[in-house]
């Protein structure tokens, strides 16, 4: 049977009252849905529906919540979904890499930066790892990247979810992006003076 409608809504409401258990139950539900949708689209090979994280998260939202809820709950949903989406994409990237090594190649047509792409699997994994490191120094910046990149939230929405000003989001975003970009584009053996090299 499908997911009982309203279950997510209820969990979100419980999260608002500070129920930690509800929080723990939320992620697996969202995860399942995102994974289903992602798996579907990856197999689907649709020209007009490439796996776009933003679209996926919103589709999951419609499927799981499907009704009007208060903005705090909505924000919380996206906060969790962003993390989950990151996991889903990185999992796929790893799987794709493994498939490639095993000689299995099923190319998927791509259009823009954030579609699931085997060619990008290395990049996605590197991004995940860099984000992991960034999170150790500045958890907020790492969360902002997650929300903006993996859940496709706008600056305003991100500010709403995190309860901070849009100005702060913009500043953090600029720095995190600059650092991630330099991390991901640095050429091995040519990265003298790197930041965060361990």
């Amino acid at each position: 049977m499908g997911l009982p409608h309203g279950e997510i809504t209820q969990l979100l409401a419980r999260v608002r009252t500070g129920d930690q258990q509800a929080n723990a139950q939320l992620a697996p539900l969202i995860y399942d849905e995102l994974r289903r949708l992602a798996a579907y689209y990856i197999r689907g090979e649709r020209p007009d529906h490439t796996l776009q994280a933003t679209a996926l998260v919103h589709e999951a939202y419609i499927k799981l919540v499907g009704q009007d809820i208060d903005w705090q709950s909505r924000a919380h949903f996206f906060a969790v979904a962003a993390q989950v989406m990151r996991r889903v994409l990185v999992d796929y990237a790893r799987a794709a890499k493994a498939d490639k090594r095993a000689g299995k190649l099923h190319r998927i047509p791509l259009e823009s930066a954030l579609v699931y792409a085997e060619e990008q699997s290395g990049e996605l994994i590197a991004l995940d790892e860099a984000l992991e490191r960034l999170g150790q120094w500045d958890p907020r910046q790492s969360r902002i990247v997650e929300l903006r990149f993996f859940a496709g939230l706008s600056v305003e929405e991100t500010a709403e979810v995190l309860g901070i000003s849009t100005r702060t989001v913009k500043r953090d975003w600029s720095m995190a992006r600059a650092w991630l970009y330099s991390e991901l584009t640095k050429v091995a053996g040519n990265d003298c003076g790197t930041v965060g090299a361990t």
Binding site: Y40, E45, E111, S112, R177, A178, L180
Partner: protein, 977 residues
């Protein structure tokens, strides 16, 4: 890098960004004088900032300017008039055709797609296809053109411009349509689909968003089907196709099951999608979204519902052959097909299956622990015993009992195995090797499988446990964890089992304190005697092989070896109860409960048997308490929730019961019993639409005969006795002897409830012969008692006595004694009735036997015209009786004593709940509702309530009018069907 260092860097970098771009590097040099490291880091960040471009944010096109400007002339022929919107493929414009005049729609293909050769080839095919279909209700596609503008070459498509909104938008704006609004649209949609199918084109992505509604020439709405973009010819060689076979295309919610499973789409797949769109038109939502409120569903013309159902049949060949047939169906003057529940559950299962399969190939979450979400299932395999000592196979029982104490997880139910193997295309007998087990775990969503062995190295023993997390590759686990526990002696293996179980429980994430409260030792929850354990296992085997007598012998032996072996008492109780030897059954049951008081059973088992004892003795308040406690302690246990619901439903707490059963169904959606109970609850509430939904779920799980039994009841309650009879008649053809035997019983009840008691008697006699030929004792007793009742009504006293006494000889359970005692007393055989009463007192401490004893006494006293005493007994019985059934005995007694008002009020309650005798046939007599209706009507007339009485007589006449469509009982003892 540290957090402090990062914070410092952040501070500086923000200052850098506040400068004008040209000043930034100079600023860095100034502020970092002396700190070369900081300078390097800032310069690197700045380089990153400048080089990042659209890095991480390049995906949002919604604010981009459209590729064409208004008034721009594209392809040297079309003047862009306005930007219409953005679709998946690209942007859409309205343009004027300068060569031919008129307006066209232009679809500009997104550059990223246009540069994809394969995509373009597909697009060309789309156009070729769409051109094959010329129909006023199909959007015309003209050409693929190229335009070279300032930003490079843009590929675009020209098509008929449709000025209107999509059906999907219309429904969102105006809400659902009524049938007269929907019919003209349906006519056009079916015409469009049939035209496409005739041209060999399948739409494959038919949905409300692909239907545009525009104003027609004479003011009526014209519906146009667009976007044959994913369609391809019916007869293409799969190897040639661009999309390839096995790919899922189309939008999930509209997709037919076969498409979801990756099979070839056929015209029937479009019919399926049409069904979804029709449902959407009439209700505003898609079938799978959420259940429809009963009121809304009832408001819809049944012919339309029927048509939708047929479109949505799982089997493509069961759907309409053409779209035109759908139209024909809804315009038909009368409904010809039986009302059938929609199999939403089947749909949901299918979607899930497709998703699981997809997921199976796509990979899954990897995490570093074996920790499971609370409520997940653990797959426990059989122990691999390499010791040569067959006794040690009993370790399976020990480990299972040990692990099932956990409230954190469930043990995956082995009864699901045949179903899963079948789905995997394997045979039941196939060896379930590790690879198969991993695949089962993956398919069933079981996160952890336990493999284990017992070995006998040298003098000692060892239990080796391996926990596996199945991964994408069934050849090997994604991760595994190992544990070994050594035992010096055979009896020390008990401790090894406990150690292993504790290790497993902690490993899968159970909290230590939580575990400690539910962790009795194997010796305490089973037995410390290997020999007794081996006998117990042997009994289980005999029971499974349907040798109850042998099983009883083995269990008796086990109990001689260890009289405190509570589990063995419980098994004995189970076996006796299933043989309808309730006296022994209840006795062993009570012993088991006593032993559990001395901690000879796990907490969970102890709660379960107390609850079950209370439930079976109809001490429902106690049953509710025990199972509520069990549900609290074991929130993920299906049976705890299920039995809690049963205790509630039997007490008539229907709303609570429905909630509980829904919860049980969410814990284990594959158990059809929850849906049976839900169906019963809804039938009692006379909520037929909801009951039908549940019946659909039962059918989706393959339980057709079970569903038939209740569907027949639903039809009868819906005043369609003919249909009910046809459905019950199906049971007689069932291969399952129990269903067949029940079929006779139900047909007899139906005949009795429709006033045909001769037919009812004939059905029971034929059924009785059938049961005798099979040696089925309990079913014979049921039929004999029912015959006795019908013969009492017909005045055949002699037969009443023989049949009632025969029934009790076959089965002397309290409920049977009660019915026999009641009939014997009413027929005037008071001595026989008294002996029935005495027999009920052989069940000390059995609640329902106490109620039965009082009631039989009351019936005897009433027969002796000792009315005050009779009423005293019967009222005491009614007070004790927690089962919400008919209190016909009070109605009858008050009627006899001349208290018409009271009698009428009891009859009225019976009248209000016609479903009761069908749902608890063990407690009620056949035809009791209709017989009570007649008495009720007569009473009301004698009380001077003429209007009410007339109304009741009309209902009675209506119910008892003979209908030709009703399956008539055979006159010879061989069913004629």
């Amino acid at each position: 890098m540290t957090a402090e260092r990062w914070a410092q860097l952040k501070d500086r970098f923000e200052a850098v960004l506040e400068r004008a771009p040209a000043e930034r590097s100079g600023f860095i040099e100034r502020v970092c004088s002396g700190d070369d490291e900081l300078r390097q880091e800032l310069l690197r960040l700045l380089a990153g900032h400048e080089g990042a471009g659209s890095f991480l944010e390049g995906r949002d096109h919604s604010n981009d300017a459209p590729v064409f400007q208004v008034n721009e002339v594209v392809g040297r022929r079309f003047t862009v008039l306005r930007f219409v919107g953005r679709g998946g493929m690209g942007e859409v414009f309205e343009a004027a055709d300068r060569d031919l005049g008129g307006h066209v729609a232009i679809k500009a293909v997104r550059p990223s797609l246009a540069s994809d050769e394969r995509f373009l080839r597909r697009l060309v095919q789309e156009i070729q296809l769409a051109r094959k279909v010329t129909h006023p209700n199909v959007c015309r596609v003209f050409d693929l053109e190229r335009h070279t503008g300032p930003s490079g070459e843009i590929v675009f498509l020209t098509m008929e411009f449709l000025d209107g909104e999509t059906l999907s938008d219309r429904l969102r704006r105006n809400g659902p349509m009524n049938v007269s609004q929907a019919l003209p649209l349906l006519r056009q949609l079916t015409a469009a689909l049939d035209a496409a199918h005739a041209a060999g084109v399948i739409h494959r992505d038919f949905k409300s968003a692909n239907v545009v509604l525009t104003g027609g020439a004479s003011g009526e709405t014209r519906a146009v089907v667009t976007d044959f973009g994913l369609a391809r010819p019916v007869d293409t060689n799969p190897g040639d196709s661009i999309t390839g076979t096995g790919h899922l295309i189309g939008t999930l919610a509209y997709m037919a099951p076969e498409q979801l499973e990756g099979n070839e789409a056929t015209p029937a797949s479009d019919i399926y999608a049409l069904g979804v769109v029709l449902h959407e038109m009439l209700t505003g939502r898609r079938p799978a979204e959420s259940p429809l409120p009963a009121s809304q569903r009832d408001a819809i013309d049944p012919r339309w519902m029927q048509a939708i159902r047929r479109c949505l049949e799982r089997d493509p060949s069961a759907r309409f052959l053409s779209a035109g047939e759908v139209l024909h169906e809804v315009e038909k003057p009368v409904r010809l097909r039986p009302y059938r529940a929609i199999r939403w559950a089947a749909l949901a299962t299918l979607v899930l299956l497709a998703i699981l399969t997809a997921w199976f190939f796509a990979g899954r979450l990897r995490s570093a622990t074996a920790s499971m979400t609370p409520g997940s299932s653990l797959l426990l395999t059989d122990v691999v015993n390499s010791t040569g000592d067959a006794d040690l196979n009993a370790l399976n029982e020990l480990m299972r009992d040990q692990l099932s104490q956990s409230a954190h997880f469930n043990i995956w139910n082995r009864r699901n195995l045949p179903r899963v193997l079948e789905r995997m295309g394997r045979h039941q007998g196939d060896e379930a090797d590790a690879k198969v087990i991993r695949e089962i775990a993956l398919r069933e969503g079981v996160p952890i499988a336990v493999f284990w062995t017992v070995t006998h190295p040298g003098d000692g023993y060892a239990i080796n446990v391996r926990l596996e997390k199945p991964g994408m590759d069934s050849g090997r686990p994604e991760q595994h964890w190992d544990f070994t526990s050594a035992a010096n002696t055979k009896s020390a293996l008990f401790d090894s089992v406990r150690d292993s179980s504790r290790w497993i429980r902690l490993k899968v994430g159970e909290a230590a304190p939580e575990m400690a409260s539910h962790d009795r030792a194997p010796q305490d929850i089973t037995t410390s005697s290997w020999e007794a354990l081996v006998a117990y296992m042997a009994a289980e085997k005999e029971k499974a092989a349907d040798h109850p007598a042998e099983a009883i012998r083995m269990l008796d032996y086990a109990l001689r070896l260890d009289p405190n072996f509570a589990l063995a008492h419980m098994r004995l109780a189970d076996i006796y109860m299933s043989m309808r030897r309730q006296e022994q059954g209840f006795q062993h049951w009570r012993t088991a409960i006593d032993e559990s008081n001395r901690a000879h059973l796990s907490r969970k088992e102890s709660l379960r048997i107390r609850g079950l004892y209370a439930l079976d003795t109809e001490d429902l308040v106690a049953a509710e308490t025990w199972f509520a406690a069990m549900s609290r302690e074991y929130p993920f246990d299906y049976l705890a929730a299920f039995y809690l619901g049963a205790a509630q439903r039997m007490q008539g707490k229907l709303e609570a019961a429905i909630g509980t059963f829904q919860h049980a169904a969410s814990l284990d959606p594959k158990q059809y019993y929850s849906y049976v109970e839900l169906a019963k609850s809804y039938l009692t509430l006379k909520n037929l639409p909801e009951a039908n939904i549940e019946l659909g779920r039962i059918r989706a799980l393959g339980e057709q005969t079970t569903a038939d039994q209740f569907e027949g009841v639903a039809r009868f309650l819906g005043s369609d006795a003919g249909l009910a009879s046809a459905i019950f008649g199906r049971l007689l053809k069932s291969a399952d002897p129990i269903a067949k035997s029940r079929g006779y019983l139900l047909l007899a009840s139906l005949a009795a409830e429709t006033g045909r008691s001769a037919d009812a008697i004939a059905w029971l006699e034929v059924g009785l012969e059938y049961d005798r030929s099979r040696g089925d004792i309990p079913f014979q007793a049921d039929k004999l008692i029912n015959l006795a009742y019908l013969h009492l009504a017909a005045g055949a006293r002699g037969k009443v006595r023989t049949e009632a006494l025969d029934a009790v000889r076959l089965d002397s359970s309290p409920e049977r004694l009660l019915k026999a005692g009641t009939l014997l007393a009413r027929a005037g055989f008071l001595a026989d009735a008294s002996s029935m009463g005495r027999m009920t007192r052989q069940f000390p401490g059995v609640h329902k036997a106490e109620v039965a004893s009082l009631r039989i006494d009351g019936e005897i006293l009433a027969a002796r015209h000792l009315f005050p005493q009779a009423l005293d007994r019967l009222n005491r019985a009614a007070k004790m009786d927690q089962v919400s059934g008919y209190q016909e005995y009070l109605a009858n007694a008050y009627a006899i004593t001349g208290d018409g008002e009271r009698a009428a009020s009891y009859y009225q309650r019976i009248f209000d709940t016609p479903a009761v005798p069908w749902l608890n046939s063990a407690a009620e007599f056949p035809g009791i509702w209709t017989a009570s209706l007649l008495k009720y009507a007569t009473l009301e007339r004698s009380l001077g309530h003429k209007d009410l009485a007339d109304k009741l007589f009309v209902i009675y006449d209506d119910r008892t009018v003979k209908r030709e469509s009703v399956l008539l009982a055979p006159s010879v003892p061989e069913p004629r069907l």
